[in-house]
Symmetry: C2
């Protein structure tokens, strides 16, 4: 099936998921929607998030996508089941995929999860992890300042001080696996690895979800039959703030063309 | 005129303006709208901000306000003239008021301005300052991480490190007046004063705009004739995120009742 794969996020972070999809599935076309006019979702309530997510899914369906990746952890936590029950195409979230890889990776059954905020979806990873293996000790920590620090350039000293605030406790808990529960975190993966030490396995949900999509395409036979160089991807954002060109390049790794679309 | 005063902001920060209005004008009723579902505005483009601001003004007019305070620096910088030309009631922004007080306060004609982001409205304070006194040397600095740090509780060490990053240059420029160009900043006024030193005069736009409103009410004769204890203020927000009760209390100084209203 040569239709594109839809990917959406509350903003720009989902581009790290696109980067991994392009690496793992180089022949597939991507249609991306980032809701930059209404970011962040993390502090919004469930009904607002469901309404926004529904508008985005309808937009992606108008682009004839065959599968949708919800690259946003907040939407994955609060609206994935709700979306899946309303639409017939496969809709993949980042949380279950990340939890699965985390459970597979841990040796001492102690997993940490870092997230954006202690708001809605707080139990989503815990629930997913315990459904896979009930005995696991999981520790969750919200790190609300990491996203703004990353978006403002990732100042090394500020990043380190924020990591110290947020992650020191994880070192004392002896976790051996850390799930990066936000699509921004791959950009400071090296700093996190350095802070936690080389023995802690980091689970990057962008990478994990790309392999999940690969499996689904293989199992359902809806992968593309085309074998073209540089398939044309489409990037839509609900707002193009100043400095966006540089910022998007940092997230996806190369300069992209994009179109502004206002929803709602 | 016993109609209420309307105040709006992209989110919760404008509550520091309400706090000052209540202090300076204890008999006036306030209707507040905070666009918490669509905050922050600082990274949005002008047409999006104008559209959102127009929706909010229409909402406040439906509450029969006699005057509107635009407590948001971004809206004041990008949409105030546009709004004033469309509506006949007085619409007051924070920038001109802050600039006026700053120019009045400086002795050495060197003024600093701190703002949320180096995006739109970057020249708004400079323009306002130079219209009042062309010879003034003004220095502007965007401090994008201060708002998230304040909203996450104002960790002292992180605040200090961020202030060092942002304000060190101001100390070398020998400014004697610093305009706090964001309604969040009064919450870390003490830390900023301590960092800049006691000789630097801080201009808190919340306080300045409250006195501006007092003047307008006196000059136009539209102040309330009522003299009632505890007039009933109304607070509307487009979303009520978790933890909002505590956060709003920090901004306005006491617990408030509020109603959720979705615009657009």
């Amino acid at each position: 099936m040569n239709n594109p794969i839809g990917v959406f996020d509350s903003g720009i972070g989902g581009l790290t998921v696109v980067r991994e999809l392009l690496r793992v599935l180089p022949d597939e076309r991507i249609v991306y929607f980032g809701d930059t006019a209404r970011v962040p979702y993390g502090s919004k309530s469930t009904d607002v998030i469901q309404k926004f997510a529904d508008q985005i899914v309808k937009f992606l369906l108008s682009k004839e996508v065959k599968l949708i990746v919800v690259a946003c952890n907040t939407v994955s936590a609060t609206a994935l089941d709700w979306l899946s029950s309303r639409y017939s195409l496969p809709i993949i979230g980042v949380i279950e995929a990340g939890a699965k890889r985390g459970v597979k990776a841990t040796r001492n059954n102690k997993i940490g999860v870092i997230r954006t905020r202690a708001t809605i979806g707080i139990k989503a990873y815990t629930t997913a992890i315990h459904q896979l293996r009930p005995g696991i000790e999981d520790h969750s920590k919200s790190c609300p300042l990491l996203v703004p620090i990353i978006e403002e350039g990732g100042d090394v000293e500020l990043t380190h001080l924020a990591l110290t605030r947020y992650l020191l406790n994880f070192k004392q808990k002896d976790i051996d696996t850390l799930i990066l529960g936000c699509t921004h975190y791959p950009l400071i993966k090296d700093e996190i690895q350095q802070f936690m030490g080389e023995d802690v396995k980091l689970i990057d949900s962008a990478n994990v979800v790309a392999h999940e999509v690969l499996n689904i395409l293989n199992n359902t036979g809806i992968g593309t039959s085309q074998n073209i160089n540089n398939p044309k991807h489409l990037f839509y954002f609900s707002d193009i703030p100043r400095g966006f060109k540089q910022l998007s390049k940092r997230f996806i790794g190369y300069p992209i063309s994009y179109t502004k679309v206002i929803l709602g």
